[in-house]
């Protein structure tokens, strides 16, 4: 019943934020960040279960697990970046949000460099 917990945390955060906004609007953003972190921490267990399952499947076949790890890491980075970007956008800081976005993209591309190299090498190996 993880979803009930997540919904509960979300509702409580919303109620706190609504109440805070009347008296101290500057604290409302903290409440929303804390709620987001708590929700992310709650889903990590489930996510690690999914990742274990995927790795288990990959180990049974002769898939290159190194690349699969990169694939998962990239998805994780994307999730975290998106989380940070949405919080920044909520608090009205679109400029910071864009910078975080760019940083995430650069890191993702730098992580996928070995894969691109592997592709180019295989293509070059085919060519006579």
């Amino acid at each position: 019943m993880d979803i009930v917990k997540i919904i509960g945390v979300g509702f409580i955060a919303v109620i706190i934020i609504v109440i805070l906004k009347q008296y101290r609007p500057e604290f409302a953003i903290y409440a929303s960040i804390i709620a987001g972190v708590i929700i992310i921490l709650m889903i990590t267990d489930t996510l690690s279960g999914i990742i274990n399952l995927l790795q288990d499947i990959a180990n049974r076949t002769n898939v290159n697990t190194q690349f699969l790890k990169i694939l998962m890491k990239i998805t994780g980075i994307a999730i975290l970046t998106e989380f940070a970007v949405s919080i920044c956008k909520d608090s009205g800081e679109t400029a910071v949000a864009n910078k975080i976005d760019i940083g995430g993209k650069v890191i993702i591309i730098s992580m996928s460099i070995p894969i691109i190299r592997a592709l180019l090498e295989t293509v070059l190996k085919i060519l006579p």
């Binding site: 999914i50 995927l54 499947i57 990959a58 049974r60 076949t61 002769n62 898939v63 290159n64 690349f67 699969l68 990169i70 694939l71 998962m72 990239i74 998805t75 994307a78 999730i79 970046t81 998106e82 976005d101 995430g104 993209k105 993702i108 591309i109 996928s112 894969i115 691109i116 592997a118 592709l119 295989t122 293509v123 190996k125 085919i126 060519l127 006579p128």
Partner: protein
């Protein structure tokens, strides 16, 4: 008294000679058999079959060529061993190909799971990079043994041509031994030239073209913008066309060559035989028969050499052919299986790889069929030359 004597006489006449005939005949048979074997052995030694057999042994791994040769001479080939060998290889190759395919399917499934997460993030570039990574993973999986397969194909093609270069001179020597001098002089240089030329042409021109087309096909699926699919398809179609043209040319050349000269040889042979049997008094007829016998044995040996040659050719090319068959089947099957879950481009990539393997299969089949037909034509020419007598 007279009657009894007559009866006894008849009995003696009918019973005793019967017994003696029987024993004499059987010993005679054995003598003939021994003589036959001896003639065969002599012919084998004088025509240098041993060298050929040791040469052939290099190409076949665990099948005894000498035994095969002897059973081909006596006319009872054992098919079950060869069949077992083929089925074993096919099973192994299918297993390997299926393993690769299962890896591809696992990557696709993992990607589709991650895609549902990353697509909802509203971040396009992440989804794209995830797609690239999945694509690259699949390509590296598929290409993992690709260069090995190409190497195998090249090695077996060069083996085939070099084996043809040892087999066809021997066969033509045997053709001379069966009295087809004209045919052998005509056919040896042409067959050798054509086979060597086609082997070199395929390894140095056709296979690189197919490889380039494969590389183009792989690259053009990476992004939506740079599409060179049509170019790769054009190269593939062109190579298939060239292949069929080569085969047709070879067939027409070989059949024409054989048809013209074999009749001439038959006439020469007949003239020579009648010359021997008529010009030499008294023993001429016997000599003429002896020529016939020797020619017949040479023919048997020649046909056995041809059978062994065809067998060795099959042994050389059976591995790549079975491997490619397994790969082609698996890739088409994989494309069909992936269609519901995978991206359109990935499905078409897998299908295209199946197409590439199919072209390689066609190349191998062309060379094999060409060589087998060449040998069969050499065998047939001299057989028909012998028939003119």
């Amino acid at each position: 008294m007279k009657k009894i004597f007559l009866v006894l006489l008849i009995c003696v006449i009918y019973i005793f000679p019967n017994v003696s005939f029987a024993t004499e005949k059987s010993s005679n048979n054995e003598e003939i058999k021994n003589e036959q074997e001896q003639t065969l052995e002599n012919q084998k030694q004088s025509l240098g079959i041993g060298d050929f057999l040791s040469e052939a042994k290099k190409y076949t791994e665990d099948i005894d060529v000498t035994e095969l040769f002897n059973s081909a001479i006596s006319g009872n080939l054992d098919n079950t061993k060869i069949l077992k060998y083929i089925i074993n290889i096919l099973g192994d190759n299918l297993k390997d190909a299926l393993q690769v395919m299962s890896g591809v399917i696992v990557v696709i499934i993992i990607h589709s799971i991650l895609k549902t997460i990353s697509e909802n993030l509203g971040n396009e570039s992440v989804a794209k990079i995830a797609y690239y990574i999945q694509y690259i993973l699949i390509v590296t999986l598929i290409m993992g043994n690709f260069s090995n397969i190409i190497e195998d194909i090249k090695i077996s093609i060069s083996d085939l041509t070099s084996f043809a270069n040892t087999l066809i001179p021997l066969l033509t020597t045997l053709m001379i031994a069966t009295g087809n001098a004209v045919s052998s002089h005509m056919i040896e240089p042409i067959l050798l030239l054509v086979i060597t030329f086609i082997g070199n042409f395929i390894t140095n021109v056709l296979i690189p073209i197919v490889l380039v087309s494969t590389a183009l096909g792989i690259i053009s699926k990476i992004s939506d913008y740079a599409q060179v699919d049509k170019l790769s398809k054009f190269l593939k179609k062109g190579s298939t066309l060239v292949l069929t043209t080569i085969l047709t040319l070879f067939m027409s050349l070989a059949t024409l060559e054989g048809g013209i000269t074999s009749g001439l040889d038959g006439m020469t042979l007949k003239a020579g035989k009648s010359l021997v049997s008529n010009a030499i008094p008294v023993v001429g007829g016997i000599l003429g028969d002896a020529i016939d016998t020797v020619l017949g044995y040479s023919n048997i040996i020649k046909n056995a050499v041809g059978v062994v040659g065809i067998f060795v050719i099959i042994c050389i090319c059976i591995k790549p052919i079975l491997n490619l068959t397994a790969l082609t089947i698996t890739y088409y099957l994989g494309a069909a299986l992936c269609q519901p879950i995978a991206d359109k481009k990935i499905v078409s990539l897998i299908e295209q790889m199946g197409g590439t393997f199919k072209i390689f299969l066609a190349i191998m089949f062309t060379i094999t069929v060409m060589l087998i037909i060449g040998i069969a034509i050499v065998m047939r020419i001299s057989n028909s030359g012998l028939m003119y007598q």
